[in-house]
Structures are given as C-alpha cells and as structure tokens.
C-alpha cells in the first residue's frame, strides 16, 4: 500500500527550510534599503521613510548617501570596500571558471587512468591524491605562498587559479574515477579491437558517456573555488584581483561599514550566487546521485 504524504507536514518542513534559507536573504534586502538610523531605531517603523537605494548607488557610482552629507555627520561608517563588491564578483567568476576548466582538463584524464588502467604506483598515488585534502589549509598557506612568490604569482589571478585547481583536483579525480570505473569494460575492449588508442578511448567513449557527470563535477569545482577564502586572501594583492569571499570578509569585519552598507554588499554578492545555484544545483545533485546508482 502506498503511503500518502501529509501535506501539512510537507508545507511545514518546506516553510521551515524556506525561512532558514530565504530569511537571511530577505533580511539583507530590507537592511540594504532602510538607512541605519531607521533600522536601529526601535521607535520608528521600518518603512517610515520609505525605501531608498542610496547605498546601492554608492556601491556602483561612489556618490555618498545623503545621510553622510548632513551637519554633524562624519564618514566613519562608509568605506569603499563596499565598492569592490561588483568587481570582486567578476574576479571570483573568472577565477572559479578557470579553476573549473583546469580541473576538468587535468582531473578527467587522471580519473580515467586511475579507473581503467593498472600502472606502477597506482594505489599509492591515488591514496596520496585522495588523502591530500585532509591536510589543514592553514598548514599549506606558508609553503604555497612562498612557492608562488618565488615564481612571481603572488598578487595575480593565475596564482589563485592554480591553488584552487589543486584544492579541487582530488575531489574531481575521486568523483570522476567512480563514474569511469562503472562503465562496462566491454566498451573499451571493443574500442581496443577497433584499434583505438587509450587517448581515443578516453575522448571518444568515456568522455561522451560521462559528460553529465563531468559537468556536475566541474560545477562542484567552480563552487569550491568561488567560496574559498584563505588562499584568496593571502594571494590576492589588491582590488583588481580580489575575489568576493575576501571582500565580504572585509565588509563584515570593518568598523567603517554601516549596517545598511554591509547588507547592500551582502545582497549584491548573494544575488548572482543564488541565481547560479538555482540554475545549476539541480543538475549537480541529479548527475552526482544519478551517476552513483547507474552501473
């Protein structure tokens, strides 16, 4: 007998999840369009002065909100760190996209080799690769910084891209090797009989069959890079290369950022991320889970 869903419970849980995930977004939106003097005044109604987009205008144009031009105001709570948000979103996108591409270019062939071929040192190298993420990030900061400094890559996007690629690579190899391992061996035996090289077997058979999984794994690498903070912070030199994770940390920790300006920064940073997640997350989950049960 098929059990029926309780619609009330379903709505209750869905509502809780929505509140938990969407609540902060709504709060940051409200916080960004209501000035601090209203937001923090328990005697005033939230929308007594209506809504204004002055902090958004400041972020995109640099024009000061009117509150800072009033008599007795000082500019202690407005900082151009907030103005770095739009640029940092672009920087993060560039870095994450490049890290994703590099991950797939390097990770997919490696995963295929690990999955389908025997070679000396295979087990130990696979273990090394898979266990390497267990090393705490903070322990790697100094040697990686010094290595990149030696080759002049500190303060460049390329440096961050390389590190993010290296950080995501073990996951890419692990996930894709599972997919490649589950492919029927007969496919590759037939390919060999037809005089396919290993590379041709990879590009003409394995990749097309694993394309959805490769895409999902790539998106996973994209997201790992997009949200990474530690290396982005020490390796990005200035606003020209700084990813959004670093800018948001600066906004959240500085005293010269008003509450409404912080919320504006958060909302501007959140929207593209939300759109991205809404568009692709379903595919990531479907493909990763689908791949794990298909055989």
């Amino acid at each position: 007998m098929k059990r029926r869903h309780n619609p009330i419970l379903t709505f209750l849980f869905a509502g809780l999840i929505l509140l938990f995930t969407g609540g902060p977004v709504v709060l940051s939106l409200i916080g960004s369009v209501v000035p601090d003097r209203i937001l923090l005044n328990s005697d005033a109604g939230l929308f007594d002065e209506g809504i204004n987009f002055e902090t958004y205008r400041y972020v995109f144009t640099g024009e000061l909100p009117s509150g800072y031009l009033t008599e007795g105001a000082n500019r202690a709570m407005i900082s151009d760190a907030a103005r770095q948000v739009p640029r940092s979103l672009w920087n993060s996108t560039v870095v994450a996209f490049a890290a994703m591409v590099l991950n797939l270019l390097l990770g997919a062939p490696a995963a295929f080799l690990f999955a389908r071929y025997a070679f000396p040192g295979k087990k130990i190298s696979f273990l090394f690769l898979i266990l390497s993420p267990l090393v705490p990030t903070v322990a790697l900061v100094t040697p990686i910084y010094m290595s990149l400094q030696a080759v002049g890559l500190v303060g460049t996007q390329l440096g961050i891209i390389l590190v993010h690629t290296a950080k995501a690579l073990p996951f890419t190899v692990l996930i894709l090797s599972v997919f490649f391992r589950k492919m029927p061996a007969e496919l590759f035996e037939a390919a060999m009989l037809d005089h396919c090289s290993r590379f041709q077997a990879f590009t003409r058979i394995a990749v097309p069959l694993a394309l959805p999984s490769i895409g999902a794994t790539g998106l996973f690498a994209f997201m790992l890079s997009y949200s990474e903070y530690m290396f982005s912070m020490v390796l990005s030199g200035d606003a020209e290369t700084r990813p959004v994770s670093v800018v948001m940390a600066a906004l959240a920790r500085n005293t010269d950022v008003s509450w409404s300006l912080l919320n504006t920064g958060i909302f501007i940073a959140i929207v593209p991320t939300l759109l991205l997640v809404a568009l692709i997350w379903r595919f990531v989950v479907e493909d990763l889970l689908g791949g794990s049960v298909k055989g």
Binding site: R37, L40, N74, R75, G155, M233, V234, A250, R253, T255
Partner: protein
C-alpha cells in the same frame, strides 16, 4: 650588408631606449601594506603624496584586520617587496627582534626624528619604541574608553559611574527597569583588543599587571586585574552583559537603545555619535575609566619601514618622505583622520588645533578626553606578548563566562607569561 645590419641594430636599440625612457627617470613604486580600514581615505592620501612627490608612486595592498599580521609575516618571509607598513604596538618587539622593521633614525635626516618625538604622547612614544629606538610615527593613537548613553542614564536618574561597583549598581538598576543587558562587551578571544580592553579596565583600578622586571603579578588576588576579572565574571553571571563579537556590532547594538554601557576605542564613539546614520547619535559620551585611578590603556598604530627598504638608500629616502608626509608636520594627514573618521592622534599639538577640536566636539567631550590621554598608560609589550596573548585570551574568555575560575585563570596566565619571559630573556 654588415654595416646595414649594424646600423639597423643600433637604431633599434636607440629607439627602444627612447621608447622605454632612461632608467633613472623611472618612478619608484613603494609597496604600502595596510589593514583595510577606510581604504578610500588611504588612497586619497596616497594620491596627494604622489602629486607632491613626483617620481614616487605608492601601491597600496590591504588585508583584513584579523588576518593582517599573519599576512604581513608571510610577506616578510616570502621576501615580497614591502616598504612601508602599518605597525602595531603589540607586534613591534617581535618584528624588531626578528629584523623585519628598521628604526626611523636609520632613514630620516639627522635630528628630524628627535624633533617629531617632542610632539608625541608618552604612551604612543612608548608603543613605537623598542630598545631605545623609534620605529614608527603615529597613524593613529587612541585610548580605550568607558562609554555610556547619557539619555538612558538621565532618564533613569543614574549618575555616571565612577567605580566598577557603581557600574554594577547602575546596570542592575537598569535591568530592574526592564533593560535586559545594560552592558555591551566586545567578547572575542581571537582579537588582541579583547585583552587590551581588559588591561584598560584594570588600569582604571590602578593595576599594574607586570613588575619592573616584567614578571607577571596579576595573579595576586589584591591586584586590580584580578579584581577586574572577578568583576567581569560577576557581571556575566548576573546577565548584565551582552557579548558581541566585534566592535562593528557594538555600534548598531548601542544604537538600539537597549544597552547603556560599553568599553571601546574612541573612534567607535565617533561612529556611535555619527548623525549621518545612527538613530541615537549624540546620546553617547565618554566617561573616565571607572576605578580609583581612572587611568586607561593608550596605544598607537604607526607607519613603519621594513628593514629591507631601510637597507636600500633610494627606497629608504622615498619611504621616509612617505612616512613623514603621512605622520609628520604639519600633521595634515593625522588631522584628516581625526576630523573625518574620528581616529585619535598621537601628535599632542592637535589638541590645540581648531581644525581637529571643532569636529571632535560634535561627538566627544574634548576636555574629558584630554584628561584621559594625559593619564593613559602604555601596555607592556615584549617579544613574547603576542604569543602569550593568544594563549591567555581564551582563558580570559572562559573565566568571564564562568567556565573557569578567576584564580586558576590568572595563575595559569601568569605562569605562562613568566615561562615565556625566561625563555626569551635567555635568548
């Protein structure tokens, strides 16, 4: 054919040289590393310096405050070009001992530093001095203050507390009147400020945490620091304290009108009283630090030059020009920070400068501040201070919220300090 080739090659070289310009005419670019407070003002100051000093460019690199020191050490150890930096009083002994920074006397024209020293507040001078040599000029210098809400106290008929016991009494009265947590406190063991604020409160009681030989004495129950930790633990236990993780969160918290007291840097008071965006601007005031002595902790953040730069005459000359522009006479940049951002200053003549005092009078009682600066004391900063502080702050945090006893915390902290002292003194 050969002549033609030579001519062609010669012309190419000459052309390239002309296009590239002569090497001696190239701009020198100083690498200026800061924490990212008010980058727009920093950049604007830099632009003004560059306009006044043709041939010298300044590239600003910034890090978030909590990551600043670690990032800077990475730069030092990674040999990343770094010329002028923001320094801190708590970091100076370790940096100087490690040879990361150089005394200003090494790069400044003779007599200049001595002349500037005369204008600097005693605690600030102490903070920037290591083994008798001056390593910086003030970016800002400030005191940690006891801040209260005038309106709340006035409405409740409470006088400004003069001792910590009076603070407790006032907070209890406010709590009885419906205010849940009258005191907002920056409670974050990760931040060095967490310890500094504790020292400031202890100075209010007249405490000395270390003796003349830099041995810890705060584990004595009669010591003011010991008593202050007891006071804090009691205030937390009575639920009089609202902990906040960062001073930036104290500003909105105090502006909700749900809290009456806090202990913060003066620039936070400037932000609290900012009519531009704070609903209760004007309600906040500074009072002498409670306690019999009313003293507090003064500190200085400063511009310093790296040892690597000091060793390069050309860069050293440019770095001195830059530091002197940012912190030297006629103190234009210090005035700007003070006027626009409410940052304190280590240059005492600014207390008599209308360009500073007039804007400051809008958010702080200048005579009270002036008295506070006069009685402010520097912290005890040693090569092991930062290591010890990182060890002690979590203990302090636990004791405040009752997870450890005050006696055990102070004993543990003092033993650790004395052990480190012995190790470093031996070296």
């Amino acid at each position: 054919m050969n002549i033609t080739r030579r001519l062609f090659a010669g012309m190419a070289v000459a052309g390239a040289a002309m296009l590239g310009g002569p090497a001696w005419a190239e701009d020198l670019t100083l690498e200026f590393v800061v924490w990212n407070y008010s980058l727009d003002t920093i950049q604007d100051n830099v632009r003004q310096f560059e306009a006044a000093n043709p041939g010298i460019k300044v590239k600003v690199t910034d890090y978030t405050w909590p990551d600043y020191q670690d990032s800077l050490i990475l730069r030092f150890r990674g040999n990343t070009q770094t010329d002028v930096i923001y320094g801190g009083q708590d970091w100076l002994p370790a940096w100087a001992a490690a040879g990361f920074v150089a005394p200003l006397e090494d790069i400044a024209p003779k007599g200049t530093v001595d002349d500037l020293k005369k204008d600097i507040a005693g605690f600030a001078l102490s903070d920037m001095t290591y083994k008798g040599k001056l390593y910086g000029l003030p970016y800002y210098a400030d005191t940690i203050s006891f801040v209260y809400n005038k309106k709340i106290l006035g409405d409740a008929g409470i006088a400004v507390p003069q001792t910590w016991e009076e603070v407790t009494a006032a907070a209890e009265k406010l709590k009885a009147g419906g205010m849940q947590r009258p005191i907002v406190y920056e409670y974050n063991q990760e931040l060095p400020n967490f310890f500094d604020a504790f020292v400031a409160q202890s100075y209010g009681r007249g405490a000395e945490l270390f003796d003349a030989e830099q041995k810890a004495v705060f584990n004595d129950p009669q010591n003011g620091a010991f008593q202050q930790l007891e006071w804090l633990a009691d205030a937390f236990k009575k639920e009089l304290v609202q902990p906040e993780t960062h001073e930036s969160k104290i500003i909105p918290a105090m502006n909700t009108g749900k809290h009456a007291f806090t202990i913060v840097y003066n620039y936070v008071l400037a932000a609290l009283n900012n009519k531009g965006d704070q609903p209760r601007a004007g309600e906040f005031a500074l009072a002498p630090m409670p306690g019999q002595a009313h003293a507090t902790l003064g500190f200085s953040k400063f511009y310093a030059v790296t040892a690597k730069t000091a060793a390069d005459p050309k860069r050293a000359e440019a770095a001195w020009k830059f530091i002197n522009f940012m912190a030297g006479k006629p103190y234009t940049v210090a005035k700007r920070w003070a006027g626009e951002k409410g940052l304190g200053f280590g240059q005492l003549p600014l207390f008599d400068d209308p360009a500073v005092i007039e804007p400051w009078a809008k958010w702080i009682d200048v005579p009270t501040l002036s008295k506070q600066v006069a009685t402010a004391k520097a912290g005890t900063w040693t090569e092991w201070s930062a290591v010890w502080s990182a060890y002690f702050r979590p203990l302090l945090a636990k004791a405040m919220v009752g997870e450890a006893s005050v006696a055990d915390t102070m004993k543990d902290g003092a033993e650790r300090w004395n052990t480190l002292r012995e190790q470093f003194v031996k070296q």
